[in-house]
Symmetry: C2
DNA sequence: TTGCAATTCAAACAGTTGTATGAAACTATC
DNA sequence: GATAGTTTCATACAACTGTTTGAATTGCAA
């Protein structure tokens, strides 16, 4: 078999362009130009544009989920099946935040592509996306084990809010910087992670006896 | 001057279609079919597709902002220039949540259109969107007055997280319903508002002496 | 080297998009 | 009721989209 140079060049170029400019205004001609391959190569190697996008998404989805689950599993094993809620939340939002924020040059194309995918929702991705629910269910399970006294509804809402803060902060990072006139430092990723985890933890533990909401100072020093 | 029947039919049809299906896959031909007008009417009345979208967005943006500011102003006047943080947050996220969630038949096309606009970010809207920062600044100001002991950075982060929870919940309402197997009731809008406001309030008040985070029970009964 | 399959390539295709045109229909004023 | 200005209409246009085609080229096995 020949080297799949062309194939992987297309994948890399497509991911980069989609991450930078979104799905809606990146054409096959943009991709093949960036990859320095012929236009027909996309259909030859992937069948169609949609199948290219789908392959990209599936690959990255598996990788991201594996990374998140690795962190989660490590935490649960260390805690004998019950990880602290902060650690679970950190495993949930940390990888994505770290991949999408921080200094320009060390942002991950893969993470930014995944955020685009979660935002723009093109047909080929929407079709696959249902699987991610199974993935989130694993986190919901871990959170329930960590907070057995909490109702399921509250846990789901906490999970929802944690993802909300992480994704929205990534999506609107530019606006937040402008609004705060640079006072909110989006380059300090670990501070952002700490803030999101802190608020989500409060959301999940407030109103209970053992609600030990991490102080703001703690969140800020956690870097 | 003649009645602007055609003009407003186009605006209404466009808003409805954009709200339902997003900007990317609604064509001018879809719009004129829905509005029962001729294809050329759009360019005759608005100049171009982009100007149609821009007019739609500007109109709705002004209306939404006016409603939010009305609630905010009322609260501040009643409190002598200092509204409780919960009330400010409610004025910020309440109108949007109420317009986008709740029973199918009473959802507002306008609100759903605005959410689309905040999600998909097409060029004509992106150009205008900077004004919204000025609008958010007014809320940031009110929040600072309400929590004078809090640092600016914390206030901006709180504002960011409040919007995050509201918008993300709207965007991913379907997924949350599926994930929770219907346990999270997205039709109970006032409960959703209460949860978002409650968590955002905690985020803004935790770690301080007067931090009286509303109990979960309070949030749930606030409807 | 010869032969064959896999890959690349330029070119063309069919479909859709937003926009422009010029004639027709309407509306109001005198 | 003729006229001038506005609005509607069918139609055409040019640009762009993803995809297909068939010939050229390549790489490898016999």
């Amino acid at each position: 078999m020949a080297s799949d140079h062309t194939r992987s060049a297309i994948l890399a170029a497509a991911e980069r362009l989609y991450a930078d400019r979104g799905f809606s205004d990146v054409t096959l001609r943009d991709i093949v130009a960036e990859a320095n391959v012929n236009l027909a190569a996309v259909n030859y190697h992937f069948g169609s544009k949609d199948e290219l996008i789908a392959e990209l998404f599936v690959t990255r989805s598996i990788a991201t989920n594996r990374e998140r689950l690795r962190e989660l599993k490590a935490a649960e094993e260390q805690g004998g099946g019950r990880a602290p809620i902060e650690v679970i939340l950190r495993a949930l939002v940390g990888p994505t935040l770290r991949g999408c924020l921080g200094p320009e040059n060390q942002r991950s194309t893969a993470a930014r592509f995944m955020i685009r995918a979660s935002i723009e929702s093109v047909p080929p991705i929407r079709r696959i996306k249902n699987r991610e629910i199974d993935h989130l269910r694993k986190f919901a399970g871990a959170m329930r084990r960590s907070l057995p006294e909490r109702s399921d509804v509250d846990v789901y809402w906490g999970l929802n809010f944690a993802l909300a803060m992480a994704h929205h902060t990534i999506r609107e990072s530019e606006r937040l910087t402008k609004l705060s006139e640079g006072k909110c430092d989006l380059d300090d990723v670990e501070d952002v992670v700490a803030r999101v985890v802190s608020v989500a933890t409060m959301a999940l533990t407030a109103g209970k006896a053992e609600a030990k909401a991490p102080s703001r100072a703690l969140a800020r020093d956690a870097r």
